[in-house]
Point group: C3
Chain length 176, copies 3
């Protein structure tokens, strides 16, 4: 079974300064460990909400570390320091608007402020980048909604083959 390489980037001024613990980054890794049977090698970064720095780390994880999947948490809203989405839009050569649409639709079942989230997904080099919100509860809701399409997306961009725990998450690969 392929080893999957996953980048996890938490963007948070406070978590990166050690003011509080980064629970969100851990929530992403816990969720992916549940989803996948593969061994996962995580490359984790916890950085402040600075757009050039976020772009640099996204490019490092996509180009140098050759991650199959990069998941960000935080920085998806309209606040001046919310710039993770902007960094993602900048480094990706292809944007996949369906991810953001789907995640907002799901979050709208819980809070009407879901329309404020700018979260998106895209392809950078051969990595799929997905933006998640900062709150652990929303992270799981969003991943549950989009993950069924993730393994096939990673197949299409030439990444490693993900094998899902079908009792946790149903993934889908269309017959060619």
């Amino acid at each position: 079974m392929d080893i999957i390489r996953v980048g996890v980037i938490t963007t948070s001024d406070r978590a990166s300064a050690g003011i509080y613990e980064d629970i969100s980054g851990k929530a992403i890794m816990d969720t992916l460990n549940e989803y996948l049977k593969n061994e996962i090698e995580y490359i984790y970064r916890c950085i402040p909400d600075e757009q050039p720095l976020i772009e640099e780390k996204l490019l490092e994880l996509a180009r140098d570390k050759k991650c199959d999947l990069i998941v960000t948490t935080g920085g998806t809203g309209p606040s001046p320091r919310d710039v993770t989405v902007d960094a993602t839009l900048k480094v990706c050569h292809k944007i996949l608007p369906g991810f953001g649409e789907m995640m907002r639709t799901v979050s709208l079942q819980y809070v009407p402020t879901a329309i404020l989230s700018r979260q998106t997904a895209g392809i950078c080099n051969n990595s799929l980048i997905i933006n998640l919100p900062g709150k652990p509860k929303s992270i799981r809701e969003c991943l549950d909604a989009v993950f069924p399409a993730v393994p096939y997306c990673i197949d299409l961009i030439g990444g490693n083959y993900m094998v899902a725990n079908e009792d946790v998450i149903k993934v889908f690969r269309p017959k060619q």
Copy 2:
């Protein structure tokens, strides 16, 4: 209670030339007056469908007049003279695609041509700009759908604190 500063821009070649009355701009102000307990100071512009002029007025209301909220009406379709959305995309440093998705979803309940609307929302300086269609009926439908998230958005970008008439509209602010 804070005074709220709201820009209202009607873009219409005919209304700005005095060929007919601008009912849409008035409909926006009537609706916001119903929604909010705050005193609202309106800055109103009725201008032709010229993109550079619309950009100029958006920037004036965002930068010089420091509006909390700027609402446009008209110019959201595919016609050559529909350029309000283009002006909005140009002046905003952040786009909030969830507003457009939500407004189209709501309008689709009434007309299948709702998919032709390009209306969006975004942040320009410290103002939230929202594009509404030109028709008074659609204006109310769209505002009812997105307004629950507006006061919190304006909190996040540093604007004045909106207090809603909860018997007219339920607004939502997540607990931090």
Copy 3:
């Protein structure tokens, strides 16, 4: 009754090399023939997945051939050779995000991987360009969903007047 001019562009490395037959382009023409009472003049291109070439053909059909409608099939996904959407985004001066949202929503009823489709629509010169996926089954699902808004869109951009077979598809034109 006006004659409608429709461009159909199949982007496929294999179909354009003659490795297999282009069923998708044919499916589009069959569907439009069912939808419309008008005589339709088709201008058909089957080309490899090369972005500059796709842009060139889109511009040819929009500017020189003055098509009312241009429908593409293929190249909507995240794979490196999927570049039809990128070509569309490049040549259009207006993007109509509601088309992509609607088509993804419809495709999601069948497959969770619908969120991987980047398909969109936009205006290039006086032509409406719509991206469809490559699979014949999805082509019909997508066209059934968006076509009700197409004739009115083409009215708005100054094209020929489409007359629908109302027993096959209900189209909608708002009363002015």
